[in-house]
């Protein structure tokens, strides 16, 4: 199965991006295009999730998965924080910031996992897109509470700004909004826009992963903030979080594919929404640490190994 995964064009383009960055090629995807692709991918998976839920209806599974996702996003940072301070030797502020990243999720990791799982006949339920959106931001709150614990209360203005960031975050709005559009429009309403959002999807994912490979590997190469402890944690955290996610997903009765998807969500670390929020709310935290860990190590690890591992785990314990 790992061989199958590694020879799919989607993953091969990621590997090409990593390779190009490592040989210091000047290959570059224009930023605006990369951003556009990420918007396209989010709109597309939001729509598809909404349509699937419009077909299947709201089920108890959905509610269970939503609660599990919210809980994971709130609580996983606690574990991460402990490991990051004890083993990683990070200070309170940096550890809180990094922990927030690991509680949140990576949309691209989820999308790639959905593609690979579906290619193996393991299609996660449509509502997992909603779970993805739910898991994006709660970890920001946990991470900040951890980073600021024991410190004098901040001004209200700032924390209201943060709440706004949590709920009005661009990718949350786009995911939830497209999900709602899919729900309202349903399968028939989707038909006319299907050629763009469905047919082109995998090809766009290839080009986007090419760019993510470039960005992740460049970040790793340019990073001056990583040491052996942090590198180990950036691999250990997805392994631990992913195992917890698969276990909980299986325990609450999700189908195998959705349990695998919950595991992959738990294992993934944010590198878009959370870094921006941390830069604003915790400017003292060092972006060199959290971006290098989540984007430079955990993201490639999940794409190349994690997705396969957690789907195998879900098949075993499912």
């Amino acid at each position: 199965m790992i061989v199958e995964t590694l020879t799919s064009p989607v993953i091969l383009f990621f590997v090409l991006g990593v390779f190009a960055a490592l040989i210091k090629s000047d290959l570059a995807i224009p930023e605006a295009f990369a951003k556009a692709m990420s918007i396209y991918l989010m709109a597309a998976i939001g729509l598809k999730g909404g349509i699937e839920v419009a077909e299947s209806g709201f089920t108890p599974d959905l509610a269970a998965a939503a609660v599990a996702g919210l809980g994971l996003s709130f609580l996983l940072p606690l574990l991460a924080f402990t490991l990051l301070t004890r083993i990683g030797k990070l200070g309170q502020i940096d550890a809180g910031a990094v922990a927030a990243h690991y509680g949140s999720v990576s949309v691209v990791t989820f999308v790639t996992a959905k593609e690979i799982l579906t290619g193996q006949g393991l299609s996660p339920a449509g509502y997992m897109v909603a779970v993805l959106a739910l898991m994006e931001t709660p970890a920001i709150i946990s991470g900040l509470l951890l980073a600021r614990r024991g410190q004098p209360q901040r001004a209200n203005a700032e924390s209201s700004g943060l709440l706004h960031e949590v709920f009005a975050n661009g990718s949350v709005v786009l995911l939830v909004g497209s999900f709602a559009i899919g729900l309202i429009a349903g399968k028939d309403g989707f038909e006319p826009v299907k050629p763009l959002f469905d047919t082109g999807f995998r090809g766009v994912l290839c080009l986007f992963l090419l760019d993510m490979g470039l960005i992740a590997a460049r970040r790793l190469v340019q990073s001056k903030k990583l040491n052996a402890r942090l590198v180990s944690l950036a691999i250990a955290l997805p392994l631990i979080n992913g195992t917890i996610g698969v276990a909980i997903g299986t325990f609450i009765g999700l189908d195998t594919a959705s349990a695998a998807a919950l595991g992959i969500l738990a294992a993934s670390a944010s590198y878009i929404a959370v870094p921006a929020a941390m830069r604003m709310a915790l400017p003292e935290a060092d972006p060199g640490i959290y971006l290098s860990m989540s984007l430079g190590i955990t993201f490639p690890f999940n794409i190349i190994l994690g997705i396969t591992l957690f789907s195998q785990l879900a098949l075993m314990i499912g």
């Binding site: 870094p275 400017p283 060199g288």
Partner: protein
């Protein structure tokens, strides 16, 4: 030649997510306007970086402001404590402007 007056040209290089914070400080000292210029790439104590739109957290912006000497001084005092934690680069230069009463 038309009459000109001296004003300060303030340039702040800052991580893009922090821009709104700094503009709030500028408003607090009553600076009348600002303009944002995108920075493509750079290098400093932490090595080189390039802007990528995907993870916007690494993006940097220059905030350009023209202000009177008094307002410029007030702004510098207000943001000096942030210089380190926000990793700002702040410069103040002299320029001549026409119709300086605006600033």
């Amino acid at each position: 030649m038309i009459e000109t007056v001296s004003r300060k040209r303030i340039e702040i290089l800052v991580d893009t997510p922090l821009v709104p914070r700094l503009i709030k400080h500028a408003r607090d000292v009553d600076i009348s306007g600002w303009s944002l210029i995108h920075v493509d790439a750079g290098g400093g104590r932490d090595g080189a970086w390039q802007h990528d739109d995907v993870t916007g957290a690494a993006a940097k912006t220059i905030i350009l402001m023209i202000a009177s000497e008094a307002k410029a001084a007030a702004l510098v005092d207000a943001i000096a404590p942030l210089l380190d934690s926000y990793r700002l680069l702040l410069t103040v230069g002299d320029v001549q402007v026409v119709r300086g009463e605006r600033f």
